[in-house]
């Protein structure tokens, strides 16, 4: 049986990388005595699979992890069973990672990593760099809404290729202001971009392209990124949250 967990990552723990997050979960799962399945051999490891690595320093409200449970595990009440796992895990984790929800993944469904097709982000300028957010937002929306492609060079491990970002911007909105920790007014940009193994577009890449188009030096305008959620494409082609629509 496969169980998918949704979790958030905030505070100092955002400075630990993907592999260390995996190691963090392995220990937490062992402490919580979740009936997870292990691989065979002399160095058995838990059968875990994360949806998508999160960059060092980035906070998130929507990370996902699949755990394979022992085949002997069964339950009468799915919600109670899953709530128990969430409670056991949260009781042994108070460093800034919190399990938000859990769901049993039906047999035959793709794992979290293979499922991801989009990610939503929230972006703002560090130190309130942009002086007139309203005017600036208008300029950005012009670029987003125009028919002109946004061509960027995307570097992968093996090659560099030119791609148009436009088809990968699934949503983009701006103009939402919030108060930050110091109670200063902050201007946030929200976007949903293609994600996953095929076309993974990072917000930094898009923002760099926008800055370039506007003649701004990206070094001068450092941004902060927060990941809000991860999504998959369902059988009808609709973009849905990774945990909401697992049942038929």
């Amino acid at each position: 049986m496969r169980v998918r967990l949704k979790f958030s990552k905030h505070g100092p723990i955002r400075f630990i990388g993907h592999l260390d997050t995996l190691r963090y979960f392995q220990k937490a799962i062992a402490r919580a005595k979740v009936p997870v399945k292990y691989s065979e051999g002399f160095h058995p490891h838990q059968l875990l699979s994360f949806a998508m690595p999160l960059s060092v320093g980035v906070e998130s409200d929507g990370e996902y992890l699949d755990m394979e449970l022992l085949s002997s595990v069964s339950f009468d009440d799915e919600k109670r069973f899953l709530d128990g796992i969430i409670k056991d895990l949260n009781d042994t984790m108070d460093e800034g990672i919190k399990i938000l929800s859990a769901k049993v993944v039906p047999e035959g469904k793709k794992n979290a990593m293979a499922s991801v097709s989009a990610a939503s982000y929230q972006v703002w300028y560090k130190n309130h760099k942009v002086e007139d957010p309203d005017e600036f937002s208008e300029k950005i929306m012009e670029i987003i809404n125009s028919n002109e492609p946004i061509i960027v060079t995307k570097k992968t491990k093996k090659s560099e290729k030119e791609i148009d970002l436009k088809p990968h911007i699934l949503t983009f909105s701006c103009g939402v202001s919030t108060f930050d920790e110091t109670m200063e007014l902050r201007f946030d940009y929200f976007m949903m971009l293609s994600a996953g193994s095929e076309n993974n577009i990072k917000p930094q890449l898009l923002m760099d392209a926008i800055h370039k188009r506007l003649g701004m030096d990206p070094e001068e305008y450092p941004i902060v990124i927060r990941r809000n959620d991860l999504f998959m494409t369902d059988d009808e082609g609709a973009i849905v949250p990774l945990i909401n629509d697992l049942s038929e």
Binding site: P12, Q26, K27, R31, G41, F42, E95, G96
Partner: protein
Amino acid sequence: MGNKLALSDDILMRVEKPARYIGNERNATIKDLSSVKIRFAMCFPDVYEIGMSNIGIQILYEMMNRRPDVYCERVYSPWPDLDKIMRDENIPLFSLETQSPIKDFDFLGITLQYEMCYSNILQILDLSGIALRSSDRNEDDPIVMAGGACTYNPEPVAAFFDLIYIGEGETSFDPLFDIYNKMKEDGTYSRVAYLREASKVPGIYVPSLYDVTYNEDGTVKSFEPKYEDVPKTIRKQVITDLSNGPYPTKPIIPYIQVTQDRAVLEIQRGCIRGCRFCQAGMTYRPNREKDIETLKKQAIEILDNTGFDEISLSSLSSSDYEKLPEFLDFLIEECEKRHVNISLPSLRIDAFSLSVMSKVQDVKKSSITFAPEAGSQRLRDVINKGLTVEDIMNGSRQAFLGGWNKVKFYFMLGLPTETDEDVKAIPELSDSVAMLYYDTIPKEERHGRCNINISTSFFVPKPFTPFQWAGMFPPEEYLRKAHLLKDTMRAQLNQKSLSYQYHEADVTILEGVFARGDRKLSDAIEYAYKHGALFDAWSEFFSYERWLDAFEKCNISIPFYAYRERTVEEKLPWDFIDIGVSRRFLENEWKKATEERGITNNCRDKCSGCGCATYGGGVCFKERGVD
């Protein structure tokens, strides 16, 4: 724990492994600063991953934090990338737990586990904004103290410390803290007054309260306390009842992979063997075992509280733990349930340990390890190793039959009385083990050729060992020995099954100078630090030339400190410390070794009267009582 970090996001994103500096790990102790009277910063002067792997610090962290009035936090050496940023931007060194400046603490305790960390001591002080030398510090500065293996000769770094703790940390911190509290409360506290009182606490050495004079040839002439109420000798502190001592069964779990990335269970302290080169073997005497029920309980608690997927047993010689078979039966069963690996360092290779190893590791991938230390039986007897060719051959044969085909051998070059014949005996012994493999395992059952890996380090004489008087050799001579070994190996019949690695000779010389140095070395350490020495334990940062330059500028003669053989009449810089093992015992052992008068029994077979029975515990009082 608040989320306020000492370093900005910008800096954390610029440095390698920012998780080294954020604290906040599970099981780290959180206390309200307003509820504590004493703040103690515990420092391992190397990078986080190394420092977090030290069990001694974790024990003291646990012990101190059990006191409601004390809050012990951790600090490690910032890696050179952050070191530079902190200097450029004037960021003071901070603790991990509360992310607050070290200068605000009452105590800064630095553990000295190897000589090559000495330049990092000065980095810690410098980045904290604390004067490098004890004599230059102000009333507001923390009391800077040292402890750990290197403090059995603290003299080279004595000038940098206000007080030095000699021995095991479990015993004397309570009086140190109680005196501090009392003096603060009744208004009698001053640095000078506190250090004077502290000097009367067992095991506490306050360097500034002693005068050292030197003979014309540079050797120590006298070492005297400045005042009558300051003790002449400092007695090493020992915890006799290890089973009931503090032990962290809720150790801090690092976020990032550290060197010792597993649960660590100390099963005993000290060693019953009396290898004559081994400092730990002498300074940790008497050997004390934890009782098996304590170990079982602690093992379960640690695994429950951490979720580590591996547990390692810590001791100088695990095979000598009397109830090892019973304990391992328990541990193997417990760990199998939990999918936890067991790592068993320092096992003697025999039928029992091979059968255990085959249960806990993949025979095909793992190797078996021997540490004969010397190639010839003559030299093994000189060093009192007590390991025979038959032991090695029998162990190897059983290992080969059990499916192993990789063997690791550890040796030392440059041991006292060593000849070229002894050096050549190393590859010859290795060759005969390779030969044994081909004789023992029929062709059709072999998985490729066997693999005998020879590794050598150069011997460094250490204080409080029978070899503390021995001379060392210049780097060229060490390298000649290494090349002789290699050339001899190439001439062996099974040379294709043999491989060889040796350590750097330059670092060895420096270790030799520091290990047996005196107070005159502190100038050179400060000079080298101010000219860029940092992270000398890391080959990518170590510069021999920098140290040679520092020695020249500060009139330090390498031959005087390292190469010279000392006479037993000489007053040694560390003679004021009493580790329980008597100087007479060490002198006898030294003579016995150089005159080749055979080996000395281990503590369990027969007491050799080293003097440690005065501690009133451990192996000295087991079975046969006192000799």
